[in-house]
């Protein structure tokens, strides 16, 4: 019997988990420095959905949305809000929505009083770089837009994880098969994918089955990062697959 304790290919369980963050400053982290770092990591990952929301709430352009999003995360980090996270249980997404609404409300009021040109405390959040490429907010409900972009980010991250894992295992071709089958504009069938990669249809079928399995594991890990517990996980998965109504229900909370 093999004593091999290594679970090859299992995605590393992420260290930045919402549930750990809401547990507050932990051992060896009295100032919450680690919690802060964890929060920053989560913030970077969910930058786009927040920016999309801000944009839909009336930011003039992507740059203004970028600024307000930046302000929002900086404020979260600097206001001591992190230390009190445990008061607001639930998912990271739900939390962001609730806080964001209040924040923007406050921000508008402050903007009316604070003189222009004041100093702004910029934080190097890498999510702020590059083209945001936000969806057109015209006629969209900001919350629904946030959910859509959030869903996109989750899937894109799971996809990134899958690619990294398969590359690390020397199975780049499996990833390419997965990508061509699921993501190509032309919507190739097995035969077309097989022809493209010089494989048999059975090979394609096997590669896809293996990759799908791993994709699910990565997706689950991504969602897990943003929830506080088992029940939240279920609710968040229901939202992820079920569209907006399920999402609403999961936010109702106790």
């Amino acid at each position: 019997m093999s004593q091999d304790a290594d679970l090859r290919g299992t995605p590393a369980f992420p260290s930045t988990r919402w549930s750990e963050l809401v547990a507050g400053p932990g051992q060896g982290d009295p100032d919450g420095a680690a919690a802060r770092a964890a929060f920053e990591a989560l913030a970077v990952r969910y930058w786009r959905p927040v920016a999309a929301y801000v944009r839909a709430r009336g930011a003039r352009d992507d740059d203004e949305a970028r600024d307000a999003t930046q302000d929002f995360f900086v404020w979260m980090l600097e206001s001591g809000f992190l230390a009190r996270l445990d008061r607001s249980r639930g998912t990271f997404r739900g939390f962001i929505k609730r806080t964001l609404k209040n924040f923007l409300h406050d921000l508008e009021r402050k903007r009316r009083t604070v003189r222009r040109g004041g100093t702004r405390n910029l934080l190097p959040l890498s999510g702020a770089e590059g083209d945001l490429d936000l969806p057109d907010p015209a006629g969209r409900d900001p919350e629904a837009l946030l959910d859509d972009v959030w869903r996109q980010e989750l899937l894109a991250r799971a996809l990134d994880g899958l690619e990294a894992e398969l590359a690390a295992r020397g199975k780049q071709r499996t990833f390419r098969v997965f990508r061509d089958y699921f993501l190509s504009e032309e919507e190739l069938d097995y035969a077309a994918v097989a022809a493209r990669h010089d494989m048999t249809g059975v090979d394609v079928s096997n590669a896809l089955a293996a990759a799908k399995k791993r994709f699910r594991a990565h997706l689950r890990a991504c969602v897990l990062e943003t929830v506080g517990g088992d029940e939240d996980l279920r609710a968040e998965l229901a939202w992820l697959f079920g569209g907006e109504n399920a999402g609403r229900a999961s936010e109702a909370g106790p």
């Binding site: 004593q3 679970l7 547990a23 009190r84 607001s88 009083t113 699910r216 689950r220």
Partner: protein
């Protein structure tokens, strides 16, 4: 990373990816290790932590036992984390006689599946066969000790025997896993027994965690041998406390008495394993394995039956230990103790009485210890349990008082003092501890306990709303310092969080705030749930003018100590010294937060009826709810809440007429009421409300001219009056009121200083009025 960035996903791609991942939706709970890697089979067992399935690992083609963990109510995240750490440590162990833990995640643990039966199921075994199995297990345990892992829960149920061929093969199960389970399930809040503490080593049963080590496992192996030879566990009891007490205090019935034909050498080996003092046991599991091997080969064993002198000494020290409960009682000198034994024999009746007293004292001390730790756990377990903790402690307090009504015993006074301190009733605690000190100056823990109570009195007596500090303040400080100096004279071998906490308190009492902060930070690093340390940090940081940190610790403390008065007082302290009236986040606190706070305050009033601050805090919540309702256009809701708020402030001011914050807030309520009721030349009640508002704010500012918020609120009020005057074509009156409003707004800005959270609002108002 060289990979190309993933392109933005099209709606069609999203749809397809979601379809590919759809099975996740149906089975989110099993997917922890790897969603489809394990094929689940029959349920092998259920426990407090989850369900164990027989499973097949498709990827590596082997059979495993998969423990899918649920999150039991009451198990805190920290316990879960610890559990996981242990499991991961255990996963490193690879030994032919250890059931391998393959992997552990927060959701599931995959481990080697062993087909067979545990020693507890195996029935009576031939002593030679049994000795072989335990020898093999001891070798495995010794290997684990070398890797730095201690099992801590060895018992027949954790040794699994696989009879594949002619030879039985033993596996040690649940390495490093069982301990947290036992902690969480066997001593649950209800007190019901789930685990099997009958196999616990004395150092575990007595809660001497720092003594738990390799020799704890030696004890466990010995207890396992005992149970398999005797056919019953070494200790049994009616309830968990009686059982734990037996483990600590009593010798198991000699094996020879239960199994007349047992080999005396084997019985000696068992007895040596199960010595109460770890130092009296085999020095290692290897030594035990070697002795078992000698016995199996028919050679002389190395263990010796305990000498008469040793037995006698243990008897004496046990008696003394029973009297000096809660105080380390090891190492009583034989010569000093002997006359006591003889003396006691001569006066049997007196000794009998003393024994009874010692017994009931022991019971009581167990109850007290249990109450203290349960109350702490219960408080931490969240909303709804706060009254539970309160009642647990009150119950134990009542027991102590009942005992004291019969006889005045120093130790009982001491227990009472500790319980009262845990309840936050420090003044009463001090009285009890002082009395205990008069009766029994030699109680070991007394100086520290009293020093901490005095320090807490000092801490909480620092004025909240500018009242004069009590005259005893300096006495408390000096006495606390003396007591703490005395109790911290020695050096502990391993400094515990409580020890460092006492050091921090000493530094504070000695006036060294920086050192005190340093020590307390060390404490919360070691024990993040150390409530008193958070409270003290809240106060220390606010003294050091680090408001942000002070707020944080006060919030943590009040979260940890729901229903614990000093937590709220400290919170009020910090918040009022930061210039912010009582509640953080006037704007951001969500509605659930308000409701939760209201629950807190209602509980607080049950614990301490007639506490002015609590009424004030409750009024505060009502006021916030009113503001919220008003913003939503719910006029009736706003009116109703405002009226309730005014009543709360009335109650607060009846108890404490000079409560400045309450005056300000009642003023604000009245101002809102006036506005809602149609201020200006409107109904009479609106005018009265306005008058009331002004009177309240005037009085508040008389009491404390530096109350920025009161200035601000009065400025708003005056602005309103100015507007009313304008409407009444009283240009002169309007101008005067506006002048006054401006003066107040400026005063608010001035009093607020740089860091005030509302500074920008004051600024806004001044600008508007300039």
């Amino acid at each position: 990373m060289s990979r190309e960035p993933t392109p933005r996903l099209t709606p069609r791609a999203i749809e397809r990816l979601l379809a590919a991942a759809a099975p996740l939706r149906e089975r989110p709970d099993v997917g922890a290790l790897d969603l489809e890697r394990y094929e689940l089979g029959e349920v092998l067992g259920r426990g407090g932590m989850g369900i164990v399935y027989a499973a097949f690992d498709r990827e590596l083609g082997r059979r495993v036992a998969l423990k899918v963990l649920s999150r039991p109510a009451g198990m805190r995240d920290s316990a879960r984390q610890r559990f996981l750490r242990e499991a991961k440590a255990a996963a490193r162990l690879s030994h032919p006689h250890i059931a391998t833990v393959y992997d552990a995640t927060p959701e599931a643990i995959a481990m080697q599946r062993v087909d067979g039966e545990t020693l507890s199921e195996a029935g009576t075994l031939d002593p030679r066969r049994l000795a072989e199995l335990v020898r093999d297990a001891a070798l495995a345990i010794h290997f684990a000790h070398g890797e730095g892992v201690v099992h801590r829960d060895l018992k027949p149920g954790n040794l699994m025997v696989e009879r594949s061929s002619d030879r039985a093969h033993v596996y040690v199960m649940d390495f490093g896993l069982a301990k947290e389970l036992a902690v969480d399930s066997s001593l649950s809040i209800s007190g019901s027994v789930v685990g099997t503490p009958g196999y616990m080593a004395p150092e575990q049963a007595a809660g001497r965690g720092q003594e738990v080590g390799p020799q704890t496992d030696v004890y466990g192996l010995g207890a396992t041998l005992y149970a398999c030879l005797a056919g019953r566990p070494p200790f049994e009891g009616e309830d968990v406390y009686a059982l734990l007490r037996s483990v600590v205090e009593e010798e198991p019935r000699p094996l020879a008495a239960l199994v007349p034909r047992v080999d005396p050498d084997l019985a000696t080996i068992v007895e040596k394993c199960m010595a109460k003092e770890p130092a009296q046991r085999y020095p290692s599991a290897l030594a035990l394995a070697s002795d078992l091997d000698r016995w199996l080969r028919g050679e002389p064993i190395q263990a010796r039956p305990p000498s008469l002198v040793y037995r006698l000494r243990r008897f004496v020290s046990r008696r003394q230990g029973a009297i000096a409960v809660g105080v380390a009682a090891a190492g009583v000198a034989l010569l000093a103790a002997l006359p006591f034994v003889i003396h006691a024999r001569g006066r049997r009746a007196a000794a009998e009485r003393e024994r009874e007293l010692a017994d009931s004292l022991f019971e009581l001390s167990r109850r007290v210890q249990t109450a203290l730790s349960e109350a702490r756990e219960t408080r931490q377990s969240g909303v709804g349990h706060e009254l539970g903790a309160f009642h647990i402690l009150e119950g134990a307090i009542a027991d102590c008082r009942a005992a004291l009504a019969q006889t005045e015993v120093g130790y009982v006074r001491f227990f009472l003092g500790r319980l009262l301190a845990a309840q936050g009733r420090f003044d009463e605690a001090l009285v009890a501890l002082d009395r205990a000190g008069e009766l029994r100056p030699d109680i070991q823990g007394l100086p520290r306990e009293r020093g901490l109570v005095l320090a807490a009195l000092f801490r909480d007596a620092v004025p909240v709303f500018g009242e004069t500090p009590p005259a005893e303040l300096e006495t408390w400080r000096a006495r606390a310092l003396a007591d703490l100096e005395r109790s911290l004279a020695g050096e502990p071998s391993v400094p515990t969080a409580d020890w460092i906490f006492a050091e921090g308190q000493r530094a504070w009492m000695a006036g060294d705030l920086e050192a005190a902060i340093e020590k307390h930070r060390e404490v919360v690093e070691m024990d993040v749930a150390h409530q008193e340390a958070h409270l003290s940090l809240a106060r220390l940081y606010s003294l050091a003018d680090r408001v942000e940190l002070a707020m944080r610790h006060s919030v943590i403390a009040s979260d940890l100590m729901r229903g614990h008065r000093p937590a709220y007082v400290a919170g009020g302290n910090v918040r009022s010294s930061s210039g912010e009236p009582l509640l953080p986040d006037r704007e951001l606190l969500p509605l659930e937060g308000l409701r939760e706070l209201l629950v807190d305050f209602n509980l607080l009033l049950q614990i301490e009826p007639g506490d002015a601050n609590t009424f004030g805090l409750r009024g505060q919540v009502r006021l916030r709810q009113a503001v919220r309702a008003s913003r939503k256009g719910n006029r009736d809701g706003a009116l109703e809440n405002l009226e309730m708020a005014v009543r709360e402030y009335d109650a607060c001011l009846t108890v404490d007429p000079s409560h400045a914050a309450a005056l300000v807030n009642r003023g604000v309520c009245n101002a809102h009421l006036a506005r809602l009721l149609g201020a200006g030349p409107g109904p009479e009640c609106a005018r009265r409300a306005l008058e009331g508002a002004r009177a309240d704010l005037d009085r508040a500012l008389e009491l404390d001219p530096a109350l920025a918020v009161a200035h601000f609120d009065r400025a708003l009020l005056r602005l309103r009056r100015s507007q009313i005057a304008q409407l009444a074509f009283d240009a002169e009156g309007a101008r005067t009121e506006r002048e006054k409003a401006r003066a107040d707004a400026r005063a608010a800005l001035l009093a607020a200083g740089e860091e005030h959270p509302w500074g920008w609002r004051f600024e806004e108002l001044v600008e508007e009025l300039e």
